[in-house]
């Protein structure tokens, strides 16, 4: 269908997607936002929830601000790119103060499982602290580290690891929401 694409790599990428799916299904709740996956349709159609996007919605946050910040190996430090994203998150969260914030941290940095959980918690805490220092009320936020769980991509290569070393800032309506 697409000329010139090496099918071995395509199959490998497909396997990665399958593994990513397997990794998420065994978790007690999902990282992903509340949009259901598109059940049908085709590429380039508006994604569910995004067709008539409202300001202040979760979709607005996803598209116009960005939920993810990324980290280098072994680090919980916020670099300038992360801080730029978080500054935008602060501004948006101040504009729409009824949202609660669930900060989820992840790791794919090698070493022990407990070490990765600790690192992921440290990352989530760093993001939450930055949002608080920007003026987002601490009472609106909580942070949790998931270690190596819920990998975005499961492979030993750097291209996968960099996607997994992340914090996701999730919007919630109440504290009991998963």
């Amino acid at each position: 269908m697409i000329a010139g694409i090496d099918f071995r790599r395509l199959a490998f990428a497909g396997l990665l997607a399958l593994l990513a799916g397997c990794t998420t299904t065994k978790m007690e709740d999902t990282t992903v936002d509340s949009q259901p996956p598109p059940t049908g349709g085709s590429t380039n159609e508006a994604a569910p929830g995004f067709a008539n996007m409202q300001g202040g919605s979760e979709e607005d946050f996803i598209l116009n601000v960005g939920r993810r910040t990324f980290f280098t190996k072994g680090s919980a430090e916020l670099d300038s790119v992360a801080r730029a994203t978080l500054d935008q998150q602060v501004a948006w969260l101040q504009k729409y103060p009824s949202w609660l914030v669930k900060v989820q941290g992840f790791a794919d940095d090698g070493g022990s499982e407990s070490g990765q959980v600790a690192l992921s918690q440290k990352r989530a805490d760093a993001v939450m602290a930055y949002l608080a220092s920007g003026g987002v009320a601490q009472s609106r936020m909580w942070a949790k580290g998931y270690g190596k769980d819920r990998e975005v991509r499961d492979c030993p290569q750097k291209a996968c690891q960099v996607q997994n070393r992340r914090v996701v800032t999730n919007l919630r309506s109440d504290r009991d929401q998963p």
Partner: protein, 229 residues
């Protein structure tokens, strides 16, 4: 087929070396538009004042939006569809953020898989030798942040196995060129969009570039070498 470095060198890597360029702002056809309603005003990014895009003047299909995206590529991958002038950043649940792009001549010349191993804010631009031959009025380089620097706000540089393949994602000074094939440069985005994508793609992000098979007045199609991996 993914071209090897040797093939690229043979095919004229020099033409994509250093930094790819958008059509220079001094090129005759674009000066008429430089004061047009394609610009909304100005903004400041990292200390640089730049002209912002008037998106009311831009066809909605080139606006940043979240779409369904069915592909075997995993989340976090950037997919560049040069023939349709779209760039997708894959997210969860078979969706992607889609951006419109302009494709310059260097953007037609390579396709395959790469990683973003270098990123730069307001990068300096060094026109490649072939471009200086075509436009002898060009200076040897233009500083980052200069209002004539065609890379604009960001550069994201594609590498294969540690080697810069000369393929870039960059901004533009010419918002009307998004959605078109441009005479020079690589993959150009609205400055607002390249700034946004920069935030979302950590170093090491995987990129899949899909081929451009359209002919450009006298240009021949890239030669596929089936003996290459």
């Amino acid at each position: 087929m993914i071209k090897t470095r040797r093939e690229l060198l043979a095919g004229g890597l020099a033409t994509v070396a250093a930094a790819a360029a958008g059509a220079p702002a001094w090129a005759a056809k674009s000066t008429a538009k430089s004061g047009s309603s394609f610009f909304a005003g100005t903004a400041v990014d990292n200390g640089v004042t730049y002209r912002t895009t008037n998106f009311n003047k831009i066809d909605k299909k080139w606006h940043k939006q979240v779409v369904k995206f069915f592909s075997s590529e995993p989340q976090g991958t950037v997919v560049v569809d040069t023939i349709h002038h779209m760039l997708y950043l894959i997210m969860e649940n078979k969706t992607a953020i889609r951006y419109g792009v302009g494709v310059g001549r260097e953007g037609f010349k390579w396709y395959g898989y790469a990683t973003i191993d270098r990123k730069a804010l307001w990068p300096k631009w060094t026109p490649p030798p072939e471009m200086i031959k075509r436009h002898p009025e060009l200076p040897p380089f233009i500083n980052g942040g200069d209002p004539k620097n065609p890379l604009s706000a960001r550069g994201m540089y594609l590498f294969r196995e540690g080697t810069d393949i000369g393929y870039r994602l960059h901004g533009t000074l010419e918002p009307w060129s998004i959605g078109t094939d441009a005479s020079s440069g690589c993959i150009r985005m609205f400055p607002e969009h390249v700034i946004d994508l920069y935030q979302r793609c950590p170093i090491g992000t995987y990129v899949q570039v899909l081929p451009h098979i359209a002919d450009q007045a006298g240009k021949s199609r890239p030669v596929l070498d089936p003996t290459l991996e």
